[in-house]
Amino acid sequence: MAWTRKDLLGLESLSREEIELILSTAESFKEVSTREIKKVPALRGKTVVNLFYEPSTRTRVSFEVAAKRLSADVINISPETSSVRKGETLVDTGRNIQALKADIIVVRHASSGAAAMLSRHLDISVVNAGDGWHEHPTQALLDIFTLKEKIGRIKGINVTIVGDIAHSRVARSNIWGLTKLGANVTLCAPKMLIPVGIEEMGVNITDNIDDALVRADAVNVLRMQFERDESAAFPEALDYFRKFGITSERLNKAKKNIILMHPGPINRGIEIESDVADGPNSVILEQVINGIALRMAVLFLVSQGHDKKYEDIN
């Protein structure tokens, strides 16, 4: 199949085939980063703008590296150093970037739906790098890519997601992506961090971490975001660690080869024991490596999708 979308806004709207196309494209791009000259000319002459309204190191850098390895020009814009501080709206900022003849905007924003809104107003490609609590599609795709690489398949595997599901865009995108590909997904969190109606996304729910781990082929540990406004509703950090923290003791009772993932940045000793994060089950750094190939695939495909759409219009 061919990719026809100019944007990547989330995994909810993608078909299984589209997700598989991204994964297979990423597979072919992974080798580029192992070359002596780590570059292909796929996006030569294209401009990618990273528009990040929330602090981010790994996602922004990952997109920047991915774009550069495709030979695109990259511009980074952050609110502290731009006219956003002068009250410019998101759409106006987007329109200005479009007027500069940029080709792709990679946007991160605290408001759910921000990427969708930009996409409605712009002709150029929009890639969602995280919008509010809504979706973070490239993170989920790189998680799935890593799982597939490690286990060989997604269909039928058991994946447990632990942590603050309610406020997590990583969780939502993972759930959409994994369930579309046929994985069994279990969510594990204190009841107050399980959002209403999420079972309609086709997942199991438990607040017992041992139950959640016993059959799991992989566990994705979410960051506890104690810096959030909603933290009043949060459990106390040490109490959380005692009930939900991923410890070596708990992992010993799980499958031997259980894969341990974390989208980062890690709170060592809160959601995960420090030694476990660095231990043999952890693929945390491989996720970072795969993130580059995956984002290369996404940038490449949306660029193609945009050009295809443009050709069709003319």
Partner: protein, 427 residues
């Protein structure tokens, strides 16, 4: 000046009338409703195969003036009303300043006298500044002409204050319109709480925040003996409470808005802020309950909750966008499409919901074609289709949930006070 509306299907539930006949207007008043009226009227409207009904009475309209003339004015709002077949409306008091005193009422009254193109009735706020702290002088505002009180947009949180508002309103025979929302429960939500809020990653507005407050207001109103009208009912649980109160003989009436029976939460999924209103679009089950409650007479009134906003306040990030949608120019078409066209309501029932009942509830001399009354009449093509276009709105604001949708029913003529105040342009 005489106008003859000839050969239309005249539907006037107040007079138990539903037949093809003529309506003669003389000197601004309805002079005769009969078959084959002989007259020397120069103006003759051919209403054959059209429906002739009393002008609509919309008891929930935000005209925004004074204070937010960039969103709407009394003039632009009443012109929009006429385009939608609405000849009388109740202006909500959440203006800047709010209508909470004689001075502010006079300011609005003056603007209405000078610029209104349709009949505007006024609701005052329940509390001064709409702050929920101190009651307005209900008795004296009533003497100055208000027909209802409401803190619409907010609910009065204090039980004691609200109880006393009901007592005073009861003594002065003023209708109390309640926007039922417990903000401690709705918690800065943006869409219906449930799968929709979860998948969109937004805070949710629970149904409890609506129906718990309805439950409270029913209790307080019953004890005080006041007439209570529940605004913009959106969900099943609210309907059950209202049905129960009616059964017990409590003086309660209720309204819903077309978006609650024409749409449901599925419409909001793409973060279209024109689908963002308070209360929010609920589930398909709630939507069906609203329709059934209209059929069963539990919901008495269809009102627009016309809430104009500028594009700057609407076409932004979903969480930041203002609540509310426009409705004056689409409420009749949306109701015909969803209710009459589907045989849920017949024309007399629809006219009751949109004209006769609200006039009765407000105690105003409108909503009928009785000879001698002011001639507020509309001529409607029930089957004619139209696509709702942004550029065709008369309202200053374009934040309609029905944009680009195909609706049935076109207002061909609006006659207000015996004059042709609006005529559909397209042939």
């Amino acid at each position: 000046m005489k106008i003859l509306i000839k050969g239309g299907r005249v539907v006037d539930p107040a007079n138990n009338l539903d037949k093809v006949c003529d309506v003669l207007i003389e000197n601004g008043k309805i002079s005769k409703v009969a078959l084959n009226i002989k007259t020397d009227a120069k103006e003759i409207i051919d209403a054959s195969s059209k429906i002739v009904v009393p002008g609509l009475v919309d008891m929930h309209v935000h005209l925004r003036e004074p204070g937010r003339e960039d969103k709407e004015t009394v003039k632009s709002g009443t012109l929009a009303a006429l385009a939608g077949g609405v000849t009388s409306l109740l202006a909500m008091p959440n203006t800047q300043p709010p209508i909470d005193s004689k001075e502010h009422l006079d300011v609005l009254g003056d603007i209405i006298n000078k610029t209104a193109r349709a009949n505007v009735f006024i609701a005052a706020s329940i509390t001064k500044g709409r702050l929920g702290e101190e009651l307005v002088d209900i008795a004296s505002l009533k003497k100055q002409g208000i027909v209802a009180i409401t803190d619409d947009g907010d609910s009065v949180d204090s039980d004691i204050l609200m109880s006393s508002a009901f007592s005073k309103a009861g003594e002065s025979n003023v209708l109390v319109i309640c926007h039922c929302e417990d903000k401690l429960l709705s918690m800065n939500g943006a869409v219906n709480l449930g799968f929709t809020s979860t998948r969109m990653g937004l805070r949710g507005i629970s149904k409890e925040s609506e129906y718990k407050r309805i439950e409270r207001d029913i209790t307080l109103a019953k004890d005080a003996g006041a007439c209570l009208h529940i605004a913009h009912v959106s969900c099943k649980e609210s309907i059950e409470l209202i049905a129960d109160a009616k059964k017990k003989g409590i003086a309660i009436t209720a309204e819903t808005a077309p978006h609650y029976f024409a749409l449901d939460e599925a419409a909001v999924i793409d973060y279209d802020t024109n689908m963002k209103m308070n209360p929010p679009l609920r589930t398909t089950q709630d939507r069906e309950s609203i329709k059934q409650a209209l059929k069963d007479g539990i919901i008495d009134v269809i009102a627009s909750d016309h809430a104009p906003h500028t594009e700057n306040e609407k076409d932004i990030e979903f969480e930041r966008a203002e609540f509310g949608v426009t409705g004056l120019e689409t409420e009749l078409s949306a109701s015909i499409t969803e209710l009459v066209n589907t045989n849920l309501l017949n024309w007399p029932e629809l006219v009751k919901k949109m004209s006769f009942n609200p006039a009765q509830i407000l105690g105003i001399d409108k909503g009928t074609l009785t000879p001698g009354r002011a001639a507020d009449i509309i001529v409607v093509s029930g089957d004619r289709e139209r696509i709702v276009k942004k550029e065709e709105f008369v309202s200053k604001s374009k934040n309609s949930p029905f944009l680009n949708r195909k609706l049935k029913g076109v207002v061909e003529y609006t006659i207000c006070g015996g004059k042709i105040a609006y005529k559909y342009k397209k042939e």
